[in-house]
Subunit: 338 residues, 2 copies
């Protein structure tokens, strides 16, 4: 089952069921007006939404053309957005570029931050940027939406709480990060609004690419129309989604509709070092910061600037048949007034 | 105008207007089913809610008895909870107890963290505690709820976005904090669900105690029925609410219903040092960590333990006539299964 939140009056969009090939949709209003509403009553809503999705596939009900640019993020705003750094390779690389050592315990104790969840960007909306000196970067990620999770949930309970899977662009202001991290209180100014893929899908839509804990497919990232990354989201994910969810729920419950991000998808090189750029036969990167680190490590200096006005980032994932699973996040940088 | 969210079916309670003396209430269902709904449409809803409140004061409409223990937190869950550390005195003291130096810039650059907002405790609900070794503490705070705030909003624009004021108990697990802060990503496990006062009030309800930026009244904190703190929330607040809101909105918009906390209300001693306990003629503290620091600094060792099963914390604020403004947060520590 694939779900989208279509632009509508109100702040949360209108819940729609979307066909597997992303060409057609039907509103789910009679079941739940919004995705959060469905998640709040998931045990009741899920089977009814699945029945609607089956009818849509069979063309047994009226439908309309689905356009990805009509979609908001599946949860246009959420009660919780917790972003892990499950690909520890990414953390190690980005720290290396800042000249900072990564503590050994980051391989066993997940890094995770509480992100702003009140105003997500639509997947085709511009990335606003007031100041190029802030160092705008994208981060391509996989994310899951959970049902309710009890305090102290085991990894097994966490696994069964995964309701939906989607992609994320975790927008980052790299040059504001060091000062905020030094304060110890996490990201506030350095992580503006993120965006998520046009549709969120139930895990079964991923077929054998979903093992219950990770998505074993490449995350396709392009920059200004050129391939930039195709890192395999199933590789090098040190902490899987159940582990991230259990970490988050250690001391408190998680409300249905909690989004848990994987952190930037990142693969090592076969030799264990940083991966090579796509143009050099590597799997590339899911953010600019990693390429910049590679440049520092191999060429002694950064060549690639952070995002500038007009730059366009596309993040997508395709199934074994080449069909887009989640639709594409495609965002262009726009200067903003303030 | 005073607003509460009463226990009801659904996760967000039923919005009620409460009389000034907190004895009577009426449901606001015809205007907005929930407080978030009212905030989403505040320019339309506010005048209608105020008209209802005026009728309630005049006893011109049917009402019912208001019981504080029937109230959820005004926003039982929110899209955003950002907690500042505006009383820098508190930060300096708590760090001193950990043997950590406070950077000088904390006096000019606000500390703020993105808190979990998906599952707040009700103001009379137990504080669940799975493990006493985690070091459970309360933090008495003042908080505001904002309307929409644009990216880059000035302090003046931030000031006019303050819709409601309330009190908070920012529950903290002190012994989990050092490890999380060392990771730099802020609080996830060390800040479980917070609670807010039974009612949230429009700033005009505070009369001359509200100067548009701070609340000039003592925050009354008691522990197991004994006075523990009466720090003046208008004193030593280095960053006022408009400054905190503008800090949060520097690089991103804030959605209506954003909660901004003051951080633990904390006064210095007249001589500039840490304040003295209530029992020694001082203004006391709004959290245990400060008393423990005082004990270390004056007696060389901690005498006061963190919260234990059965301990009861009460947080309240009274107007110049002794009338409770927000109702009381009153929470007892309960052992929890996991």
């Amino acid at each position: 089952m694939k779900l989208a939140s279509l632009k509508a009056e109100g702040r949360d969009g209108s819940l729609a069921v979307v066909s597997r090939d992303l060409t057609r949709a039907t509103l789910a209003r009679a079941i739940a007006p919004t995705l959060q509403h469905a998640l709040d009553n998931w045990s009741d809503a899920e089977p009814r939404l699945r029945a609607l999705a089956a009818e849509l596939e069979l063309r047994a009900i009226p439908d309309f053309r689905f356009h990805e640019h009509d979609a908001l993020s599946p949860l246009p705003r959420a009660y919780q957005w917790l972003d892990g750094s499950a690909y520890v390779n990414h953390v190690e690389l980005v720290r290396k570029a800042r000249g900072a050592e990564m503590p050994e315990r980051f391989w066993t104790d997940p890094l995770m931050y509480q992100g702003g969840s009140d105003s997500f960007l639509a997947p085709r909306a511009p990335m606003p940027l007031a100041n190029e000196a802030w160092g705008l970067d994208f981060e391509g990620e996989v994310a899951v939406i959970t049902g309710d999770v009890a305090t102290g949930a085991s990894a097994a309970a966490a696994k069964s709480a995964i309701a939906l899977v989607m992609l994320a662009n975790d927008v980052s202001l790299r040059n504001l990060i060091p000062d905020e991290l030094a304060k110890g209180f996490g990201f506030v100014q350095s992580k503006p609004s993120s965006a998520f893929s046009p549709v969120a899908v139930t895990p079964d839509e991923l077929g054998p690419a979903w093992d219950g804990r990770r998505v074993h497919l490449p995350l396709l990232v392009s920059l200004n129309g050129r391939p930039f990354g195709l890192a395999d989201a199933g590789l090098d994910m040190t902490f899987d989604f159940p582990a991230l969810i259990a970490h988050a729920a250690k001391t408190r419950p998680l409300c249905a509709g909690t989004i848990i991000g994987s952190g930037t998808v990142s693969n090592r090189d076969a030799k264990g070092g940083p991966g090579r750029p796509v143009g050099q036969g590597g799997r590339g990167y899911s953010c600019l910061a990693e390429l910049r680190t590679f440049e520092i490590l191999t060429e002694g200096a950064v060549k690639t600037p952070f995002l500038r006005s007009g730059d366009c980032v596309r993040i997508e994932m395709k199934d074994f048949d080449g069909q887009s699973i989640f639709g594409a996040i495609e965002q262009t940088v726009h200067p903003s007034a303030s």
